[in-house]
């Protein structure tokens, strides 16, 4: 909804294209390509999304330690029977590990992840102790 109204004025994706900073650290043992991630934050939580088409829940492992989120996964290549051949092979396959340092500590108990239509969405609530608090100013 918001997107359609604002798209003419600016495209948030373009905006952040320039922000490709070494925010992520990653390793890929078997294939030199990784799925891409986006990270959203608000005062209360962080949302990490990635496009992982063709992977099912069992192929993805998510772990959280304090501020650090690690996502591991693997995707297999199409298997060929005898006499079959690839005309094109563009889809990535292999294993990946991606580690994120989030700007705040995470309440690991409340982390939720869902996978729908090949899109992974991890919701990471900020640890209660780290939430911003409004400080009342007293007058004497």
């Amino acid at each position: 909804m918001l997107m359609t109204n604002f798209a003419r004025l600016f495209d948030p994706w373009d905006e952040f294209e320039r922000m490709r900073q070494p925010f992520f650290s990653q390793t890929a043992p078997s294939n030199a390509e990784f799925p891409a991630f986006n990270v959203w934050v608000s005062g209360d939580d962080a949302i990490v999304t990635s496009e992982l088409p063709g992977m099912d829940r069992g192929a993805i492992e998510i772990s959280v330690v304090e501020k650090t989120l690690t996502v591991r996964g693997s995707r297999r290549s199409e298997e060929l029977a005898e006499g079959e051949s690839f005309h094109r092979k563009e889809r990535w396959f292999g294993q990946f590990t991606k580690t994120f340092e989030l700007p705040f500590g995470i309440d690991a108990e409340k982390v939720r992840a869902q996978l729908a239509g090949g899109v992974l969405e991890i919701s990471l609530p900020r640890a209660e102790a780290e939430k911003p608090r409004k400080i009342e100013i007293k007058s004497e």
């Binding site: 294209e17 922000m19 986006n38 959203w40 088409p53 094109r88 700007p103 239509g117 090949g118 899109v119």
Partner: protein
């Protein structure tokens, strides 16, 4: 840390000069595998965010078009602090040879992957020609 590996980059569809899209949304080219099997050709396309309702597969004359619509979901009240991929529609066009049996084409979408099975027409299946001696 030296980064040797590259990130997967989504490729945007190129439009011909003079042609504009009516929608402002970006359109990406899905990565595909095309496998030649005995009786059929299988096209596998990565189209994350697409389901059976938002995907159109059309065949007009010899032109097979895959078009998947994706609604960009921006979580309310959040700001993007790191972005490696954009969200948009998917489009890819293939020219089919005549050897496909058009009536038996099947399309299945699961976990954001489209699997399109294009059965070869009977006449196109390899025939062994017997060579006789005079």
């Amino acid at each position: 840390m030296a980064e040797v590996a590259t990130e997967l980059q989504k490729k945007e569809v190129e439009t011909k000069e003079g042609i504009e899209r009516t929608r402002t949304r970006k359109v990406y080219t899905p990565a595909v595998d095309i496998i030649e099997k005995k009786g059929e050709i299988v096209v596998v396309a990565d189209m994350p965010g697409v389901d059976e309702k938002s995907l159109d597969v059309t065949l007009e004359r010899n032109v097979l078009t895959l078009y998947g619509r994706v609604e960009p979901a921006i979580p309310e009240g959040h700001r993007l602090i790191a972005s490696e991929y954009g969200i948009g529609d998917y489009q890819r066009v293939f020219a089919l040879s005549d050897e496909i049996d058009r009536d038996r084409i099947r399309a299945i979408v699961k976990n954001g992957v489209l699997r399109l099975v294009l059965p070869k027409a009977e006449s196109a299946k390899t025939r062994k020609i017997a060579v006789t001696v005079e």
